[in-house]
């Protein structure tokens, strides 16, 4: 009878666990207009739907960048709006946040907002769309907000050093005819990029060139509680020329990702890892001690209570080990996969919308395979803006 009862209880527990594990993330209801996006974007939209709210920022960012790659600025605009709406909203004490702080859940249970470099890049791409819309004022607001995200870096010397955003603020001011503000922004930029030549006032076209793959996050260290970064693929590209002009390597996204310094949440995750290790060790010692006591209690001359004490110790030890096994100290290693490794810029003057030749070169100056291409300059207010990538950002999102 006892074995039947225990079997029944075990079966019920299994069902409870199975029921919980099998629960799928809630699907995100998105606007039906996304049903008609290009086939190459459908996979991204499906990811947005199935990834739920927890991954919404990440999935919208990847979808937005893929849309930009395909020249679908309408989808890119709304996708980045969806991401930024969530990034800029301030929530505290949500259920997911409480879980992420608890020892029983990995940090990745929280809704993704990304690290400062990812948030800054979301603002950057939204700003590019604003420029194509001819709205340099809101574009500048986006670059300013992106720069603010970088201010969350813990290392003082690396705070607000996103040179790309400083340059973009300067360029927007220049295109708005506010040369005083432009000079101010370029002056700030020169503190970080002293060799950058200020664009001529006659320049009316900007080309953004993106190379390589996204910086990759991975979990390492004690119980996978440390967040680390590795550089994404570079494919040997080290310089880019546009119409014979060398593009300036304005930003290294990997560098931005890896110089942030420690996060406040790292202390919580580290605490979880240490708790897990201590519980595991104490459990192991108690189990071993309990087993030894039980063994000695089995002897003929031992007191009857000894084996019960041993059994109790073993039980406590096992329960502590079970508890330790359930502590999840892994950091959140989700990352924006179709970001580039580096961003180069070049400004020039063109009389009208044009297509310019672009050459991606390696360290020795040779053209890398598939590195001879073109960039299309599109009207952007009273100027032009073009964007070209080496290593399609679509590739990294698939």
């Amino acid at each position: 009878m006892m074995s039947f009862i225990s079997r029944t209880v075990a079966a019920c527990l299994c069902l409870v666990l199975l029921g919980c594990v099998a629960g799928q993330p809630e699907r995100l209801a998105i606007d039906p207009r996304y049903d008609s996006v290009a086939p190459a974007l459908q996979v991204y939209m499906e990811r947005v739907r199935t990834g739920g709210e927890r991954n919404a920022v990440l999935n919208w960012e990847e979808a937005g960048l893929a849309a930009l790659e395909l020249g679908d600025t309408d989808t890119a605009r709304s996708a980045f709006d969806e991401a930024l709406l969530r990034i800029e909203s301030v929530f505290s004490d949500t259920e997911a946040a409480a879980k992420a702080r608890s020892v029983w859940y990995a940090e990745s249970i929280k809704d993704f907002k990304g690290e400062p470099y990812e948030r800054a890049m979301a603002f950057f791409y939204r700003g590019l769309v604003d420029m194509w819309d001819g709205d340099y004022e809101n574009a500048r607001a986006m670059f300013k907000s992106g720069l603010q995200q970088d201010a969350f870096a813990e290392e003082q010397q690396n705070r607000s050093d996103f040179a790309l955003h400083m340059f973009m603020i300067g360029w927007c001011c220049q295109m708005l005819g506010d040369y005083t503000a432009a000079d101010e922004a370029y002056g700030q930029l020169r503190e970080f990029r002293p060799d950058f030549a200020t664009p001529s006032r006659d320049d009316n076209a900007l080309v953004i060139l993106e190379t390589g793959g996204a910086p990759q996050k991975y979990a390492a260290g004690l119980e996978m509680s440390e967040l680390r970064f590795r550089r994404g693929a570079t494919q040997g590209v080290s310089r880019v020329d546009v119409r014979g002009l060398p593009a300036y390597p304005m930003e290294d996204i990997y560098w931005q990702a890896s110089t942030r310094g420690g996060r406040e949440v790292d202390r919580i995750v580290r605490g979880k890892a240490e708790f897990k290790v201590v519980q595991e060790s104490v459990g192991k010692v108690m189990t071993q001690a309990g087993t030894a006591v039980m063994a000695s209690g089995m002897r003929k001359d031992a007191r009857k209570e000894t084996k019960y004490v041993g059994a109790a110790l073993t039980l406590i030890g096992i329960s502590q080990m079970v508890m330790a096994a359930n502590v999840d100290a892994r950091v959140d290693a989700r990352f924006w996969r179709n970001l580039p490794n580096r961003i180069h810029v070049v400004t020039t003057h063109v009389p009208c919308a044009a297509t310019l030749p672009v050459v991606f070169r390696d360290g020795s100056g040779s053209v890398v395979q598939g590195g001879a291409t073109t960039v299309r300059l599109l009207p952007a207010g009273n100027g032009f803006l073009g964007r070209a990538t080496f290593l399609s950002s679509l590739l990294y999102g698939q």
């Binding site: 301030v90 702080r101 949440v265």
Partner: protein, 208 residues
């Protein structure tokens, strides 16, 4: 006893599954919110309550200005976003501000200020051309030789100061919105209005 457990097993299974499923039900709900009050979704940027309160304050301020309101003939004003600059770090649709300001002031001024619709210039041109070409009749209002010129035009600037405390995750943004009515003949500014507010927020420690 065995029978009792056999009967209980499906019940327990159903309850356990139901328990998991009902943890976070997916029932999207839509609610109307007071546009003048802080909404459920909050940030440190420019929000609806800021727009509503600001335009209300500016309209009251303009209505109290003797140069604008005590003129023997209703002054003509262009109130659009052409010379209203966003230099802030907040994404703002400037036209929402100038549209609301114009609509509220037009209503409150009750004819004591006349607004010139520069943004509808093409529409007016088209109708004037049709009338003069005899395609349509002249309507009920007298025809004028030219379109209305303006006495004043709205100018202004939105600026922000941001502050961040990386350790605590606290963030604040101070907005200052300047409105100015510029005399289009002399360049004088008979009315200026300032509206400012500061918001701060604390991100959860898991996002720091």
């Amino acid at each position: 006893m065995r029978m009792i457990f056999k009967m209980l097993l499906p019940v327990l299974a159903a309850v356990s599954l139901l328990g998991c499923a009902s943890g976070k039900g997916y029932t999207p709900s839509v609610q109307y919110e007071d546009t003048a009050e802080q909404g459920k979704v909050q940030g440190i940027g420019f929000e609806s309550q800021d727009l509503v309160r600001m335009t209300k304050a500016m309209v009251a301020d303009m209505l109290a200005n003797p140069v604008l309101m005590d003129s023997p003939r209703p002054p003509r004003v262009v109130m659009d976003s052409e010379y209203f600059y966003n230099e802030s770090s907040s994404r703002i649709d400037k036209r929402m501000i100038t549209d609301r300001l114009r609509a509220e002031l037009n209503k409150a001024a009750a004819g004591r200020i006349m607004f010139v619709a520069r943004n509808y210039g093409d529409m007016v041109d088209s109708e004037r051309a049709s009338k003069r070409a005899g395609e349509v009749d002249t309507g009920t209002l007298p025809m004028t030789r030219t379109k209305a010129g303006a006495d004043y035009r709205l100018g202004g600037r939105i600026s922000t100061i941001d502050a961040i405390a990386p350790k605590s995750g606290a963030q604040s943004r101070y907005h200052q919105i300047l409105f100015e009515m510029v005399d289009l003949e002399t360049g004088l500014i008979p009315w200026s209005g300032l509206y400012d507010f500061k918001k701060s927020a604390q991100h959860d420690v898991i996002y720091q």
